[in-house]
């Protein structure tokens, strides 16, 4: 009996040491894995749909309008960037679409560009979408002609911290 107990104790001690060693190794690996730069957010391509909660946004196509048409003429050094979008309410309650505060462009330097009036065939209409409703339209932005790495950011709940990032046409 005493011999059996002793064996059990030895096994338990060895097991505990082994477990501690294993933990140390795991911690070491985790720290090493966390050192590389953060993974960039997923980039949606034209035609793809980003679903964020009850919002489902599809960017059908994007284009650049360098000249505009009176009265919409971009300022010197700027041009219009236009996106055809479809926004769907996939929830069971009405929601609000307000692209002026939910969508903007961001360039590679982190500068943001808000929606800006431009010549559009079908401007996206802000307002309520009832459950299941889908609304199509165009949103436009004015940004420098020299802007690099422009992305369309969809931020359905401003300040909530979750955004979808879409590729945007450039020069």
């Amino acid at each position: 009996m005493d011999v059996v107990l002793a064996v059990v104790v030895v096994v338990a001690v060895v097991g505990a040491l082994g477990a501690q060693k294993g933990v140390r190794q795991q911690v070491g690996k985790t720290v090493t894995a966390a050192l590389p730069s953060p993974v960039p957010p997923h980039m949606y391509k034209t035609g793809e749909t980003a679903t964020m909660g009850v919002y489902a946004l599809t960017v059908k196509q994007t284009r650049v309008d360098a000249q505009g048409t009176r009265p919409y003429v971009p300022g010197a050094g700027y041009q219009y960037y236009v996106a055809d979008v479809v926004l769907k309410n996939t929830g069971k309650e009405a929601l609000e679409a307000a692209p002026a505060v939910q969508m903007y462009l961001r360039d590679a330097t982190g500068a943001n560009y808000a929606m800006a009036p431009a010549p559009l065939d079908v401007p996206f209409a802000a307002g309520q979408l009832v459950a299941g409703e889908e609304r199509a339209g165009q949103v436009s932005f004015a940004a420098p002609q020299t802007a690099v790495g422009l992305r369309l950011i969809f931020d359905p709940a401003p300040a909530a911290g979750a955004v979808a990032v879409f590729e945007m046409a450039s020069n």
């Binding site: 505009g68 009265p71 919409y72 003429v73 971009p74 300022g75 010197a76 050094g77 700027y78 929601l95 609000e96 679409a97 307000a98 692209p99 002026a100 505060v101 939910q102 903007y104 961001r106 982190g110 500068a111 943001n112 560009y113 808000a114 929606m115 800006a116 009036p117 431009a118 401007p123 996206f124 209409a125 802000a126 307002g127 309520q128 339209g137 949103v139 932005f141 004015a142 940004a143 420098p144 950011i153 931020d155 359905p156 709940a157 401003p158 300040a159 911290g161 955004v163």
Partner: protein, 98 residues
């Protein structure tokens, strides 16, 4: 969010103010009265109108003097430009003025 500043939203706003569909008081809208932080009121609603006043190279639909103010009387008084301004406003609505 990094985007808030350039879009005219501020963390000092009342809860919900600037969130799509949420109401803002006239006093709160009135604090957004600069070219880079420009909201206007029209017919009982408020609009994120920074680009209307020529920010970021956009066409100036309104003078910056309208930022933070109610443009209803101004828009009603327009003639040829009224449809244009009303069409633009339709895309930039954020929520009602309480």
């Amino acid at each position: 969010m990094a985007g808030l500043g350039s879009l005219g939203m501020a963390r000092a706003d009342a809860p919900g103010c600037g969130v799509p569909g949420s109401a803002c008081s006239e006093a709160e809208v009135a604090t957004h009265n600069t070219v880079r932080n420009c909201w206007v009121m029209y017919s009982g609603a408020y609009y994120a109108a920074g680009s209307f006043v020529g920010a970021n190279g956009a066409v100036a639909v309104l003078s910056s003097g309208w930022c933070g103010r109610d443009v209803t009387v101004y828009v009603v008084g327009l003639t040829s430009a009224k449809p244009l301004v009303k069409d633009i406003l339709a895309s930039y609505r954020v929520g009602p003025v309480q």
